[in-house]
Symmetry: D2
Subunit: 293 residues, 4 copies
């Protein structure tokens, strides 16, 4: 039986990257346009942050999320819409007196506030990070009380949480959540590889993560930057799904700024050249047991 | 050539455990007595926290560290003394408004303050944790700026930092520190396994950690609780050193409170029954390139 | 739940080793005596070759197997009796004209002849090697037609075949046999590690073998020579059973010839010091679904 | 630094496959034509068997090898020519009396005879298998005395042996040969994966092989049949070289007979889409330290 591979495209992300690549979609209109393009190119799911067109930086206004989702749905595509919830988890300390937070660098929210844009926009899926980690040398805190609360609320809303794991401990944590009944079956797991400092985006890194994969999980993974395409191949080789997109990687080849559609096209090429298939959206919706539209 | 295994005994730790095991040493006198016993039993190094005899809880008064080190040295043993630096790294948030710290649950210090007891007591070695992690559901924050600062200062003092890694990302972080010149050769690395939620204390967990071991490192590892003795065997099988002690595990067998000496004796038994040797202190001092006493 | 570990003792083997260790049992009487001793020491199963007391070398006279089995049963022990079938599989070539066999070095039999001593002695279990391999630089040929024939016949006789695997390919071959219905459930698999040139007796070696373990298999493993006790610990750590005995290793410590009972005692010590149990014979008989006595 | 990947094309092989794929080159002229095409497509090396145009089956007449090599060199290409030596190693037994060889199924030669075509044709490289193994249920015997003899003679002739390993034991054997000084530096190692019954053509299989890779080896690998392209990606991901070609796989996609050039083109596509380079022939000749032409 041929392996069907779901392709997620993470179209814009939240980092301050737009100066490096002019193709990064910023406005709701641009994001919806990119979604149409990657859907045509073969993407099964889109992972979406929103930006403020003035500053071109990440925004958390719920109206922007609603506008993006509405624009995508109005295009008539059935692509799976996955919104970020990786908001309000950044903690900055006063380095000289770390018993004090640095309000400039801190953006830590209660879970209800992190859910507002999701309740408003009602995507099919939303990401749900589990780690407390050193994310590019900044603490990035997903308190377990918050994760559990959000997971339960999302599942009441019939929004499927995509559990993002960055290291072996997150896999263990995810298994513990599953054992506690926090996640409905099948658990949907994203392996985020090559983020400093989590699991490296290597063959041995992914094997170690897969050694801890919960039974019955639907999983995929991605690598950051130049490890994006190697990890497409590696995830397929381990039987998983893949993610590409301008959130994770700005370049098609060294020095060549990519478009989202080009990144998806290349993922399709790698998947097909290895003798595997790209999943249809309909099959993916069934596998993930998503709510009816 | 026979493999020589260094045994570290972590004699008391900082957790609120004394009610569970009456053998946990609390006063400086008790700690020094346990050190004498584990040295006789074959330990190469002792890892030491101190406690307040009134509360029986962890203490960070530098005088207590000085007293313990003096008492040990006065016993005439050359055992390697390793003091903790895992102090002042705990961050507690107000769960309802996580943009505020909960001062009751927060104990986060600047690095100079974390070095005071070390400068006063001048051990051979001190632990130096690298992760920002979910430690039993509490954020435990080793800011990289602090880790680098402490490593440099410790090496000026000729106190050898023992780098504590809890997951794959910490191994990557350690390699980056080494590449930046933060650690003098040989790097001394401790794999802390089975802590919720880091690398699990399993064969596959340790293999994944060793896959990222920096070249030339002297390393050991330990497992928590009932994984203490399995991980003694597993570390030896992977060519590493071992750690036991009441900090990590309270029981000799299920329901049988251990003494530190019993835990070391059992580690010796496992090491020798697998055909390997216990290292002498003199050899270990040479391998680690410790300062002359 | 505590892990129960079956201990097999391979008491004598077929190699020309008796000059190196005076404790190797040779006569049926000596073998039965050693079986009694290892049963008392905690062994769950004994793996048995027989020898000619005149030459002290391996013998394949079925009467000797019958005598050994009878003597063991007459002692009233219920220990599981596992006879070798690794007979008649050695092929020697004329090195100058390898299209000719060297009859002096060839001992290759049809499967019915290899079954004679088993039909006569009716052990509980018999070993069944699957590889065609370079065994200490001699071809050692288990033709698949023969393996399949023997497996089927053994299962008709209700003698449980213990499938011996020496490298990854043998694990694949075993899975193929299982898929073809050759082996009744549960498959009983022995990982033979450290034989030149098969899978090495290392942590990474056993992990690679376990990565290919058929579902539902009851398995154990052993290492050769000085890797015997390291592999006892490693098999337990991977959740498997263990094998020791003078067939695989002659020494208790470097230069100290062992007795079978001493080897079993040490295996028990390692198993128990790691917090696991030795299986009872009764539990092992149930797990392996052996025929009633 | 970008990774340079050498691509070997195994153009025809020795199996009875020509009825299944009309593109398999048979005559010296056809083989030379395919070599020109794969060189143009990006191949760095060609691995060559020869066939009898009458029977279309494998041939071992040295004149055919000479003719192929001459034709290739006359085309002016500098592609690395690698001839097989996997001849005269097949052993067939009389199944009813396996102490007798079956001359119909046996083709086992002394090493001098296996070297004749190599001395005559003087390729740059020749394959040198090390296993004694169950090759598709036939014993395939590379006696160690023969391997050592051939390796020494080839190196005198300045023909580089490419050591073919089919399972973990072969890696260990290769390390032992290297320790004995049998192979000149750098050892050139081919991982042959997915052959029944050797190491499987999986991620875990290749990781296990690489765990035993001799220091300083130049290595590549391939998978059989539909695992050809997955293993191209997997070898690159592990830092190795790749092999494709009609010897190992007949199809471009399911049911679509391939040409050698198409297989090489697809390997190039996979390599480049993962962000790596195809090696030049000149660089590969230098890396392998081949004799001057």
């Amino acid at each position: 039986m041929k392996q069907d591979v779901m392709i997620t495209c993470a179209v814009t992300g939240g980092a301050d990257t737009t100066a490096k690549n002019p193709h990064i979609p910023v406005s709701a209109e641009e994001i919806a346009r990119d979604v149409a393009e990657v859907a045509a190119a073969g993407a099964t799911m889109v992972h979406i942050h929103v930006r403020d067109p003035e500053t071109r930086l990440e925004s958390w206004e719920k109206e922007r999320f609603v506008e993006v989702v509405d624009r995508i749905r109005d295009q008539g595509t059935d692509i799976i819409i996955n919104l970020t919830s990786a908001i309000g988890i950044q903690v900055g300390f006063n380095l000289d007196d770390p018993s004090q937070l640095d309000p400039e660098k801190t953006n830590f929210w209660a879970p209800d506030r992190r859910l507002e844009h999701l309740e408003a926009a009602m995507p099919d899926v939303c990401s749900l990070d589990v780690p407390i980690m050193n994310y590019n040398d900044t603490p990035y805190c997903n308190l377990p009380q918050h994760v559990g609360y959000m997971a339960r609320r999302l599942q009441e809303l019939k929004i499927k949480p995509e559990i993002e794991c960055f290291d072996l401990g997150d896999m263990w944590r995810t298994q513990a959540y599953i054992d506690e009944g926090v996640f409905d079956a099948p658990p949907l797991i994203q392996l985020c590889m090559g983020v400093k400092y989590g699991v490296p985006a290597t063959t041995r890194g992914i094997v170690a993560m897969c050694d801890m994969m919960p039974e019955g999980a639907v999983w995929g993974g991605f690598g950051i930057g130049p490890r994006q395409f190697p990890m497409v191949a590696q995830c397929v080789l381990m039987g998983g799904n893949v993610r590409v997109g301008l959130e994770d990687n700005l370049y098609l080849d060294k020095g060549v700024p990519a478009t989202n559609a080009q990144l998806v096209e290349r993922a399709v090429e790698i998947i097909e050249r290895m003798g595997t298939n790209v999943s249809t959206v309909a099959d993916a919706r069934k596998t993930l047991n998503l709510r009816e539209q």
